[in-house]
Amino acid sequence: MKTKNIIIYALVSVISLGIIGINSCEVSKKVQAKTGTQLWGENCGRCHNAPGPGEFNNTNWDIVGTHMRIRTNITETEEKKIVAYLISTNN
């Protein structure tokens, strides 16, 4: 029980300190400027081959984006930009 408490409190402390530290640093302009095309190329292939434009319809791209965000913890901005890019290739 003691070990468990130590782990919990250590984790909460690390996360708290980390978030406080991160508050002072914004996402860099270089990362903010990344396009959906770039993010698609950089993130999807980290685990699997990236599905290409035209693979799914607009609705399914939106669903896949949310699924990947939950499974891999990509950021919301990455999800939105990647989905926007893939949908744009359908239209």
Binding site: I19, V27, V31, Q32, R46, H48, I63, I70, N73
Partner: protein
């Protein structure tokens, strides 16, 4: 109570983050306006089915056969921008008969860009192999590393609740998950003594486990991810039994690197994971009622690398991927003792998620074997 404390903390901190971290969506200078996404979708409650089917061919000097035909549909419902359900039933035949299971049924509430709460049966982010790198259309091999498949160690499926998310920090990214769940259950029969049921649907006591993972992607191109995971449970035995107070502490480190070598038009992938679990000492009974005990502190790890000349003009060559993997499983003598395994694979990709694998594998005290696998993603 403890998870509530953690969730409250995360909620509070994520609110601060929302206010202080620049909204990079607004800063997007991509030529594709994000607001257009919702305008081109039909309806708000949407549903899709994806997944994969797979089959293995096995051959060694004694046997050869087709088997392990599995069908794994993934059902996804996006109920709204904040509500999402993902579920995967599994139809497996590797045990000699049809085995139907529920891999996960996970209900998610997206609180804000940095926090998603979820509950149900889920794949805990303990390491990266289980639920991610080990999926058939992602794993470059027809087999699992020793210690990572059946008879292995580490968290697999959990029933409970959790909080997760990811956010940018400078040019890096951080992701996290924390969960409270029923946890693993110790097995006490002679053959499996000291191992665990990692995929239980129901709890065997009111004890809960706390687990989590924190990952860092230090480079702006997301090419490298390193992460630490833990899971801890103080009472893994059935309530009222002599094993009720047997605790287990699990830890894992995982690494995933993916890059390109432009000069040879090739993608390179290096992945690895180390995991360890420490189980409290216990006395187990043999069938003849004599007792035995052992130091239960197994460790498993693997490292794997693959190359694929994905940017060659030749269609056949660019769909070929070569991969090699080494794994070790240091386990109690009672479970078979230490073992190690080499695997080499030649894969041919018919599509981004459809592949034919040819894997040759050597493992300590086991005949060398060839495994062919067909995986069709859909």
């Amino acid at each position: 109570m403890k998870l509530l404390l953690i969730i409250c903390l995360l909620l509070g901190c994520s609110s601060i983050l929302s206010a202080q971290i620049g909204d990079s969506t607004k800063a997007n200078d991509d030529s594709i306006p994000i607001k257009d996404v919702s305008e081109v979708l039909n309806g708000k409650n949407n549903f899709a089915v994806f997944g994969n089917a797979e089959m293995i061919y096995f051959a060694d000097k004694h046997n050869n056969n087709f088997g392990e035909v599995n069908f794994k549909p993934i059902f996804l419902w996006k109920l709204s921008e904040k509500l999402f359900v993902e579920a995967e039933p599994e139809f497996e035949t590797g045990g000699g008969s049809l085995d139907i299971g529920l891999e996960y049924a996970n209900m998610c509430y997206i609180v804000n860009p940095y926090l998603t709460l979820h509950g149900g049966r889920f794949l805990p982010k303990f390491g990266a192999y289980r639920g991610r790198m080990g999926e058939a259309f992602i794993n470059r091999f027809s087999t699992a590393p020793v210690g990572f498949g059946d008879g292995g160690i580490g968290a697999m499926n959990e029933v409970g609740v959790g909080a997760q998310g990811g956010f940018g920090a400078g040019s890096a990214k951080i992701n996290y998950e924390l969960y409270l769940s029923n946890g693993v259950q110790i097995l006490t029969d002679e053959e499996n003594a000291g191992q665990f049921e990692y995929e239980a649907y129901a709890a065997n006591s009111s004890a809960k486990t706390v687990g989590g993972r924190i990952g860092l992607l230090p480079f702006s191109n997301s090419s490298l991810e390193i992460a630490y995971s833990f899971q801890n449970k103080t009472k893994t035995g059935e309530k009222g039994s002599a094993y009720e107070n047997i605790g287990v502490n699990m830890q894992a480190f995982d690494l995933n690197y993916w890059g390109h070598i432009k000069s040879i038009k090739t993608d390179v992938r290096i992945i690895g994971e180390w995991k360890h679990q420490k189980v409290d000492n216990a006395v187990y009974y043999k069938a003849d009622s004599t007792t035995f005990t052992f130091n239960n502190s197994p460790t498993a790890y693997y490292v794997a690398g693959s190359i694929r000349p994905a940017y060659l003009k030749n269609v056949i060559l660019r769909n070929i991927e070569l991969a090699a993997r080494y794994s070790e499983f240091k386990r109690p003598e009672h479970w078979g003792g230490d073992t190690n395994q080499f695997a080499f694979s030649l894969d041919y990709w018919l599509k981004w998620n459809t592949v034919i694998k040819f894997t040759y594998q050597t493992e300590k005290n086991i005949d060398n074997a060839f495994y062919g696998q067909i995986v069709f993603g859909f």
